[in-house]
Amino acid sequence: MGNPMRIRAGVAGDTVEVKILMRHDMETGQRKDPTGAVIPAHYIKTIVAKHKDKVVFDANFGPSVSKDPFLSFKFKGGAAGDKVTVTWVDTSGDTRTDEGTVS
């Protein structure tokens, strides 16, 4: 189980802007520790955001997305009080789902 995400969603008209801050090392597999051993790659690969069971955003990450990834996007058709659910899966198969409320 990964660290919790911070999800903020604000509505203007019928457009919801979602901002997601994930907490993850996003280790590239290119770095070495002080003894010279390669630190194995460990990064988030897929992120899916849903609003009322409909996928509103779907991203694939490579290792070159920054540590503690940030994402923002906008979708239409949301209203205050709606829930936005975000799930990520990383290279080790670890996964985390969190929910934000549109305000």
């Binding site: 509103v56 991203a59 694939n60 070159s64 920054s66 540590k67 994402l71 239409k76």
Partner: protein, 145 residues
Amino acid sequence: MRITAVLGAAFAAGVLSPKDVFAAEWSQKVFDAKSLADAVKALGSDKFEVSPDVAITGPDIAENGAVVPVSISSKAPGTDFLAILVDKNPSAMSASFNIPAGTEAAVTTRVKMGATSNVHALARANGKWLVASKEIKVTLGGCGG
């Protein structure tokens, strides 16, 4: 009794397999591509064009290559896919996004850059591949170590 409980937990874990949740396949080939042209090829096309409909914004100079904010967007009608690519990184493809109907073709995220490089926004609109590019200078790389 204990064995039953373990089997039950394993079954539950199997049922909740994350693979069922995701629509788009994460492709090793796409994320191994060394250049914009290779990445487009891995995505199933052999041509792309520079387009004024696609935009990329980011800093002109990034002091810290480990955290470079980049925004990409496309005004081209029918945009259903966006991606960020960094030319000089070990693998060019940084992140790709599927844009369902009802979601704006505009994304902001933060990427790592090993060195000063061209950064590309790639969009697919009605089957055509469109590109916009911007050079971002990096004073301290974020991929070494």
